[in-house]
């Protein structure tokens, strides 16, 4: 308490000199506090609608930075909208109706690119949106080029699509799956699988298991033959597959024993395995990396925009992103957050081994090509949905 008051004093005393501010800022930031955002003092809206994914992930956002932010700004009211899965459609509809009701939207990297391309999301200068790291490193450098995949994208986490499998399947005769291709092996590993009801990852995994090298997957998918090859491979397990749309589906299906294998976000499986202690194991082989982050809708009002900027400055700083990893096993997007990742908030276990980026888990990882997906999503979606319906 005393320390906080003291810090506040230092801040007010040194206001005006940018250079000294920075030193004060980093001193404060190490304390778990954050610097004042560049828009502090400007008129701001008191209401903010945040669009996210619901479930364990939204909880982690709530606990790591929304609740702390609301404590600092009790006048603000946050409304959640769990529509991230339909964010592109929603933002387009709102923009066409000229009535943008969302202030901040959590989307995957590929969706961020689409939204940016269509002019539905605002282009941002990451250094003006996100605070520098505690050691003074600019945000753009701290996130790094690998994370900043689009001009509109403000990264939060790196996650991955992985498979979980049940450990108590009698028909498997004690075999445990260790490779992505075991998903397609109905003889050794009989039982139903759950896969996402979109082409992402499924097409890639099918090709990889049909002998295409990881590096050639996207070249192959650009051709008609490559897609047919992927569909043919998926055909082999089609009648044994349950198709999921929500991230919570696979954990539920695995817990019920409805499926023996299922793909989903690694954080959901973490909560199933570690927090709920179900007889399920994670298979990290050929996990497929993806990114998730914020976009700001284009044409936001000035006061709304100021509020969003003020919130983002806090919510994407080094400590907050590290805090988020206490609640869910997704890797923070900032390099400077990695060393701060500690233990699970309630279970007290070390989170590092559960991160998709942990070297042991990442030995045979696959990196999704977001740019390629932004280009080809429409094409492949049409074919994939038709294939599913037939």
């Amino acid at each position: 308490m005393l320390g906080e008051v003291f810090d506040m004093k230092i801040k007010t005393m040194l206001l005006g000199s940018g250079a000294v501010m920075l030193i004060a800022a980093s001193a404060v930031a190490q304390d778990g506090q954050t610097t004042e955002s560049p828009v502090a003092g400007e008129p701001m809206a008191d209401e903010m609608t945040i669009v996210s994914w619901g479930g364990a992930y939204q909880d982690s956002q709530l606990k790591a930075y929304v609740e702390p932010y609301l404590e600092m700004h009790p006048e603000v009211q946050v409304t959640w909208d769990e529509s991230s899965a339909e964010a592109v459609a929603g933002m387009r509809a709102q923009s066409e109706a000229n009535n943008v009701t969302w202030d901040l939207v959590d989307v995957t990297a590929a969706d961020a690119m689409r939204l940016c391309d269509e002019g539905l999301a605002m282009e941002v200068d990451i250094d003006e949106i996100a605070a520098p790291a505690p050691d003074g490193t600019e945000a753009s450098e701290d996130f790094g080029e690998d994370m900043l995949v689009s001009d509109c994208f403000i990264p939060q986490i790196a996650y991955s699509y992985t498979f979980g499998y049940r450990t108590d399947v009698a028909e498997w005769d004690g075999n445990t799956p260790s490779s992505i291709c075991d998903v397609f092996d109905l003889e050794t590993f009989p039982g139903r699988r759950s896969l996402e009801r979109r082409p992402h990852n499924n097409m890639e995994w099918a090709l990889i298991c049909d002998g295409v090298a990881m590096d050639d997957v996207y070249d192959a998918l650009e051709t008609e033959e490559g897609r047919q090859q992927a569909f043919a491979k998926l055909d082999t397990i089609k009648d044994q597959t349950v198709w999921w749309t929500a991230g919570a589906d696979t954990p539920q299906l695995l817990a019920d024993g409805e499926v023996v294998f299922g793909s989903t976000y690694n954080g959901r499986l973490f909560s199933l395995i570690v927090e709920q202690d179900q007889p399920v194991e994670m298979m990290w082989d050929t996990q497929s990396y993806d990114l998730d982050g914020w976009v700001i809708p284009a044409d936001l009002g000035e006061e709304e925009l100021n509020r969003v900027k003020d919130f983002l400055w806090f919510a994407t700083d080094t400590q907050r992103l590290a805090d988020q990893a206490k609640y869910i096993s997704y890797g923070p997007a900032r390099a400077s957050s990695a060393p701060l990742v500690g233990e699970h908030a309630t279970l007290g276990i070390d989170m590092a081994p559960h991160m998709p980026t942990n070297p042991e888990n990442a030995t045979n990882a696959f990196v999704q090509n977001y740019e390629w997906w932004a280009d080809y999503r429409d094409d492949l979606d049409a074919e994939f949905q038709a294939w599913l319906a037939q």
């Binding site: 391309d117 932004a374 599913l388 319906a389």
Partner: protein, 585 residues
């Protein structure tokens, strides 16, 4: 029956309606006259009109509400099924240039030049991706083609830019362009505006408090740029693209054309205009520069725009099918969405069947009809005995049973659907019981969910009250004495039921069938949750196109077809059963 005095109107007497009819029937040649001398007909009509207006005023709040919140949005959505302005709006030059293309081979340089100019503008406005998505509905691959092209298209004309600037560095100056292109007086207006802005800024700097500063903020926009008529005449293409450049610079980038160097494509257009010779004898501003440049352009190295598109950007631009698609969809209205909705497609050569691996809609419509009918018949089978029982039991017992029918009816749809998930899944209650009794083996559990069976079971349960309630209310009104009379005349139980009771309950079946069938044909949530991929309806596909693929036009076309289908079935039902025979109790 149609007696002159007690005809269609059963109530005789001095009502205005009757008086008019009376007058008509009498067939008088002289008009009847009211007390004030005006023809009776007219004065009555006036009185009636007032009455009608009052009635209209009474219902108008509801009418307006329904029109604004229900009819208008639906009409707007349905309109999207034929609307196709995006192509002609995004590619105005290309659409015109393509009119002369005969559909074979690769279009000529002119078309590519038009395309380049259109796409540069579209890329600046971020419209090209939407256009790509739109055309992708018709031809797979257009979306990625447009995106890739958008990334490189700003390079077109770069070589010419360099040559113009080398010829005279003045071409690099925004000021040269402004004086060449701007309408009379714009330069002066703009200078005044700059001066005013600077003055305001100075005043702001001098202000003491932030509030004062804010009050002094200068937020008047720069005077809108307009191209002069002389420039339009001498450089038609350049003027058009420069006008768009200035417009986008002012409105999108909130910059000034006096500060920004034009896009490369403007130099390309300038080259085209100067080569075409339209600028000969031009004597407006910068005439000397124009004359020198015009003399020089014949020596310029001007790379072909067509080969840039084909060789540098994507070889698909040499594919006649791509151009055919653009041409086929260049009109502002299209039947394309409706054709797609019935597994056909509009190609440059006319209407063709959709590729087998992409044709699903007829299948889905058939499946929707088949499953809705199945659900309807299962509802009759299950609902009829219950309604019969309800209407024949003593009041106290039947009320208790009725509550049992209504209880699930009042429960949330999602809860009931989720409950079916728990019951029907392979490790679920029903399968567990079957395994326990020994009817199925543990390794061979029944697949009751995520397929058609799941949808039919869950939806039959959910829609059952809609069958039971109308049946019940109709059966309540059937006097038990009729059946008793039949029996007393020697009919067996079955004959009495089938010949006497059942025909009287048909109106209830009719009402229940219409309700259940129409509700189920547009059902969405339950099939989505328990239908897997084989148990989904056309409505799931519509939802997919609304929220995921963003193909709203196709969704609207599918919705329209569904609506027409329901209306047609309703009409058919009216003709066969008669809508008067439907009773909701």
């Amino acid at each position: 029956m149609a007696d002159a005095t007690t005809g269609p109107d059963q109530f005789t007497g001095p009502t205005p309606d009757n008086a008019i009819r009376e007058a008509d029937r009498a067939g008088r040649t002289e008009p009847m006259v009211a007390a004030d001398g005006t023809p009776l007909k007219r004065s009555l009509n006036r009185a009636l009109r007032r009455q009608k207006l009052r009635a209209l005023a009474l219902i108008s709040p509801l009418l307006i509400f329904i029109l604004v919140t229900f009819v208008a949005p639906i009409a707007d959505m349905l309109f999207r099924s034929v609307e196709n302005q995006i192509v002609s709006e995004t590619l105005p030059r290309t659409v015109v240039a393509l009119e002369d293309w005969d559909g074979t081979g690769v279009p000529d340089e002119e078309v590519f030049r038009a395309l380049a100019a259109d796409l540069v503008v579209a890329e600046e406005l971020k419209n090209h991706t939407r256009l790509g998505s739109r055309l992708n509905y018709e031809m797979t691959g257009m979306s990625s083609l447009m995106r890739q092209t958008g990334r490189d298209v700003d390079e077109i004309g770069e070589v010419l830019t360099d040559q113009f600037v080398e010829l005279d560095p003045a071409w690099e100056e925004p000021a040269t362009w402004v004086s060449l292109m701007a309408r009379d007086g714009w330069v002066e207006d703009q200078a005044e505006w700059v001066a005013a802005a600077e003055e305001a800024e100075a005043a702001q700097d001098a202000a003491a408090t932030p509030e004062e500063r804010r009050a002094l903020a200068f937020d008047e926009p720069e005077p809108t740029f307009r191209v002069s008529d002389a420039a339009q005449e001498a450089f038609p293409r350049t003027a058009r693209i420069y006008g768009q450049f200035a417009d986008i610079t002012q409105t999108e980038d909130e910059d000034s054309p006096t500060e920004e160097e034009p896009w490369n494509i403007v130099y390309q257009a300038l080259y085209e205009d100067l080569s075409a010779g339209t600028a000969q004898g031009y004597d407006g501003p910068e005439a000397d520069l124009v004359a020198r440049s015009e003399a020089a352009v014949s020596d310029f190295d001007a790379p072909s725009v067509r080969s840039f598109f084909v060789d540098e950007i994507d070889e698909d631009w040499a594919d006649p099918e791509v151009w055919g698609t653009i041409q086929a969809f260049s009109s502002p209205y299209t039947a394309g969405y409706f054709l797609s909705a019935v597994d056909l497609k509009l190609t440059p050569d006319g209407i063709e069947a959709q590729d087998a691996d992409q044709s699903i809609y007829i299948l889905l419509f058939e499946r929707t009809m088949f499953m809705s009918l199945t659900i309807m018949f299962s509802c009759i089978l299950l609902g009829y005995p219950i309604a019969f029982l309800l209407s024949n039991l003593p009041m106290r017992t039947s009320n208790l049973l009725l509550i049992l029918v209504l209880l699930p009816f009042w429960t949330s749809l999602l809860v009931r659907t989720s409950a079916w998930k728990v019951l029907l899944q392979q490790q679920g209650v029903i399968n567990d019981i079957l395994v326990w009794i020994g009817l199925v083996s543990d390794t061979n559990r029944l697949a009751l969910i995520n397929n058609q069976t799941g949808t039919i079971i869950a939806m039959t349960h959910i829609l059952l009250p809609f069958m039971i309630l109308p049946l019940y209310s109709v059966m309540k009104t059937i006097p038990p004495s009729y059946v008793r009379a039949a029996k007393s005349l020697g009919a067996t139980n079955w004959t009495a039921f089938w010949r006497v009771y059942f025909p009287q309950s048909v109106p209830g079946i009719g009402a229940g069938c219409i309700l259940v069938f129409i509700l189920s044909i547009g059902y969405y949530i339950t099939p989505e949750l328990v239908g897997g991929t084989t148990g989904t309806f056309i409505s799931n596909r519509i939802a997919y196109h609304i929220s995921s693929s963003l193909n709203w036009g196709l969704a609207a076309a599918l919705g329209t077809i569904l609506l027409v289908l329901v209306l047609a079935l309703y009409y058919l039902y009216d003709r066969i059963v008669g809508i008067d025979n439907v009773s909701l109790g």
